[in-house]
């Protein structure tokens, strides 16, 4: 299965093309998408932890749409990078650690979005919902862990 994936024309193109538009561009887009997903998520998380309290939480909700598009970009580029080297990557424990961290982080993101859409605290409200605060810390840690696991795939 993995060997078949790796042998497809698309996987071979990603792996063997000498063009800067192949592997280097895909990897670059994967990094840009990561910056947007985790960056936007961090903005919401820090707001929940008490930063920039004058910004209403509900005003941040369009960021979730941005996260969704960037996540789509990263799922796509991630699949391309995976199939190019499927036999090796499918045997790397740290790859499954990365995927698990991303899934739990995504769950956090959905839970945070629910809190923000339902909660809608007034501007300047003294405290963020405490459940939101815990989710925010968890989200920051999970994304940092996912990035670390992803980077370690090149070494472990």
């Amino acid at each position: 299965m993995m060997a078949w994936l790796e042998g497809t024309g698309l996987a071979t193109w990603v792996r063997e093309s000498p063009s800067l538009w192949a592997y280097p561009t895909i990897l670059t887009l994967h990094t840009v998408g990561l910056g947007i997903v985790v960056g936007a998520s961090a903005v919401v998380d820090f707001r929940l932890l008490g930063f920039a309290r004058r910004v209403r939480l509900i005003d941040l909700s369009p960021l979730f749409g941005m996260m969704a598009w960037a996540f789509l970009l990263n799922a796509t580029t991630g699949i391309l990078l995976f199939i190019a080297d499927a036999t090796t990557k499918s045997r790397q424990p740290v790859f499954y650690v990365k995927l698990s961290l991303i899934f739990v982080a995504l769950w956090c993101t959905f839970a945070t979005r629910r809190i923000i859409r339902e909660g809608n605290p007034a501007p300047g409200a003294e405290s963020a919902p405490s459940k939101g605060g815990r989710l925010a810390v968890l989200s920051l840690l999970l994304w940092a862990g996912a990035i670390t696991a992803g980077r370690l795939m090149a070494y472990l």
Partner: protein, 141 residues
Amino acid sequence: MNLRRWIVVGSVAVIGLVALAGVPAIAHHSAAPFYDATKRVAAQGTVTRFLFKNPHSFLYFDATDDKGQKAEWQIELGPAASLTRTGWTPETLKPGTAIKAEGQPSRAEGSHGMCCAKITRPDGTPIVAGGRVTEEQQPPR
């Protein structure tokens, strides 16, 4: 400092520590975790395979050492996308081509691997003439 401030400072510190744990590896994608830059190793033989690919290319060649021991060596090279820009192609090193290589040895015990190698013909002449890099190939990055 109020409680919320502590939570923020604490979580930033933990993230920092998690990130720091990865720093030696992340810093510049150095070859140091895998190859020993303080040592040199050299071998001469004939090419068996040239995997011209991203994110790293690999060159394999059969060599016989001073004691008559045969071994297959593996040289880790830069990505296909970079090698191309220095004038190399998948056809540059066909199986059977005689080469001489000198580089940093792999840290793996008992292995025959090197990186950051200078690869030439056995007489020391460059393999690709006129490229931006004629014989000294980039380290993995």
